[in-house]
Symmetry: C2
Subunit: 445 residues, 2 copies
Amino acid sequence: MTTDLMPNRFRPGEAELSPRDADLIARRDAVLGASYRLQYRNPVHFERAEGMWLYDPEGRAYLDFYNNVPSLGHCHPEVNAAMAAQAGRISGNTRYLEPGLVDYAERLVATFPAEMDRVVFTCTGSESNDLALRIARHVSGAQGVIVSSHAYHGTSAACAGVSPNLGAAVRLDPATRMVTLPGPAGIPDEGAARHFEDQVRAAIADLQRRGFGVAALLFDSIFSSDGVWLDPPGFIAGGAAAVRAAGGLVISDEVQPGFGRTGDHMWGFMRHGIVPDLATLGKPMGNGFPIGAVVGRADPMAGFGATARYSNTFAGNAVGIATADAVLRVLQRDDIPGNARAMGARLRAGLETLQGSHASLRAVRHAGLFFGIDIGRDDMPAPARRALALDLVNAMREDRVLISTTGANEDTLKVRPPLIVGPEHVDQFLHSLGRALALVEGRRT
Amino acid sequence: MTTDLMPNRFRPGEAELSPRDADLIARRDAVLGASYRLQYRNPVHFERAEGMWLYDPEGRAYLDFYNNVPSLGHCHPEVNAAMAAQAGRISGNTRYLEPGLVDYAERLVATFPAEMDRVVFTCTGSESNDLALRIARHVSGAQGVIVSSHAYHGTSAACAGVSPNLGAAVRLDPATRMVTLPGPAGIPDEGAARHFEDQVRAAIADLQRRGFGVAALLFDSIFSSDGVWLDPPGFIAGGAAAVRAAGGLVISDEVQPGFGRTGDHMWGFMRHGIVPDLATLGKPMGNGFPIGAVVGRADPMAGFGATARYSNTFAGNAVGIATADAVLRVLQRDDIPGNARAMGARLRAGLETLQGSHASLRAVRHAGLFFGIDIGRDDMPAPARRALALDLVNAMREDRVLISTTGANEDTLKVRPPLIVGPEHVDQFLHSLGRALALVEGRRT
């Protein structure tokens, strides 16, 4: 695992900056907390955005194959109109009667399996995972949480405590247990479910032996920060059943896979043929407006809510709800998940063609429009593979196409365009990737 | 302390509901998590809002003396226009260069003492307190947090762990220590600082003896959930110095007192003549848009940010920043804190007059436009005082004036109108309170 927690970032001196950007970065460094990072060796600076495109102050267009918050495209006019109209009427809060809140809640849970019929709103994916952990620990009376080796589940203290991806400087909760995924462990598909379940059972046994007990299995079914290790579909099921048998809850972190990103399904857990106790929502829910939710079965929600007050000032207010409602309407009306499926297939086919002429494209994994593309030949050492992936990402940034890296070694390209992407954008992305490959492979040979 | 965590709430059967509202409540109960509560015996239902007023579906106007999120008034047109305009241009994120982010950050920290020159953005006050706790524990290497007896600091797991106000069913962190405030302990003003410092020193000694160490003193300088015990100004200083001497950080929770609520000062800690290490912002920062921040000294921010990644997807995005920027501009241009001071004085004078004819108004405490008004004569038992306060709040709700209760016994009226309140609204509030007092005192005698 690389010790640099964000390899694809700006480091002073590596890029030639315009005086305007150099000045802005100096002012930024003087006033923002030290935790802020800029993406890319040569940071990007945008003034406006529309659909698949971001525009810099000189009016140059950048193709967005990275941002998974504006799933419906940047600055969606219908979504923005719904937000502005509601902001002009009333913002409100959930302690007042609000028909819009109930209407949207009903339409949202209708996209889940029938058992998952309750929702609590939050403002961010982190708040969703934090609340799900509170519910799981409250109703189980236990503390232990099982996650994947390089999981990332958010920024709150409780989320950070179950996010090994944040690195050694951020303390894990003593009752966090990590399991290795079958893919990076090199387990063939037929043994994947067994491998995962064995790992989970060992974690359960250890948690019980130490008196922590098992509160939850928490997973992002795309396993994005692990490097997009999402196959074979269904490999999670046995481990999930084991956790439930041990008294823990199964929590599907849908912040990345949710709202149709995986193409075939509205929610990532559906790809694995399971029904979790809780699902946590965030990023694309408001196409940029800060809104999230926990959707789940009535039982754990009632066990928590009957005795524990949970009141979130902004969450569920009428403006957020109207915005999320517009997002869901557009997503269903325009069959956005269908487009994610079709464009995901087109992108996969194009990548497979590129693999024929570029040995650096080691492997392609995806569901719908979430892609992990491993970079570097098998015989290259890990640091060289990582350097190659970073070179590629930054070559594409110079070509005005935006992606980044992920994975334990950060040698996997993370590609996740807005879900409205069209064939012409997919083709432009493939051309740019081909050019970047030729460039960096040329440099390295 | 009452065991009902939200006494001023709807309970089925207590109010005669319209068929429309009864149907909406049934649907609401069927789809929202069990943690949701409706305010007032007879819930309120609003369709639109403007300035100081909320309007029900029949068009009846309710005077808002409770909501402290829309400090500039409901549906502020300039703020909403700024939000909508930015949403149409670009939403962005903090990993891209964004002049608006830096401009606003500079203008925000300029309202703080010079030592507090760094900011990290969040989406909610809970996220702000959660991050402040992460920073404090990271840089101190300690776990202990000292709070007031009935403190409430937010909804995340870490915030709930330092919020005794959430009641016995919500687990406190083992390293949380509570201190009683001088006011409710009956300490005269001249002994208040000594009392508070003694309590804090005892908590420090206990935390050190158990190996937890001291990470932070965390306080809301209005002590809202304790019952608005904010006098005498300065009583916090000695305790804060003791915590700093023990290696902990001083964190001022400005979610309620911040942005001019206290009238004389932009930030609540200023009233106590101290400069904290960190201040946490939320509620009124975006006049309803979900945005918060941690502002603080460079040292602890750097100690955290250098090794710990903190990346908050929505926080600091261009739409939230443009909205908060408009709020700050209006607040400064229109001298909103000055109005809070003037209207606070007018309200206080009116309450003192009412006290002459109503023995039920036991005591009035306030800073600017945050009021705690103790209800019930000294010789009444606590449950009777609480019942009287609840009757008053609900009588005023029927009179279409909105307030609620707070405090360990929930017998303190919590009054905190939007900061744009005018003399005519103050007078209407006083008339309504007088009528409600006559009504409930008549019933009880």
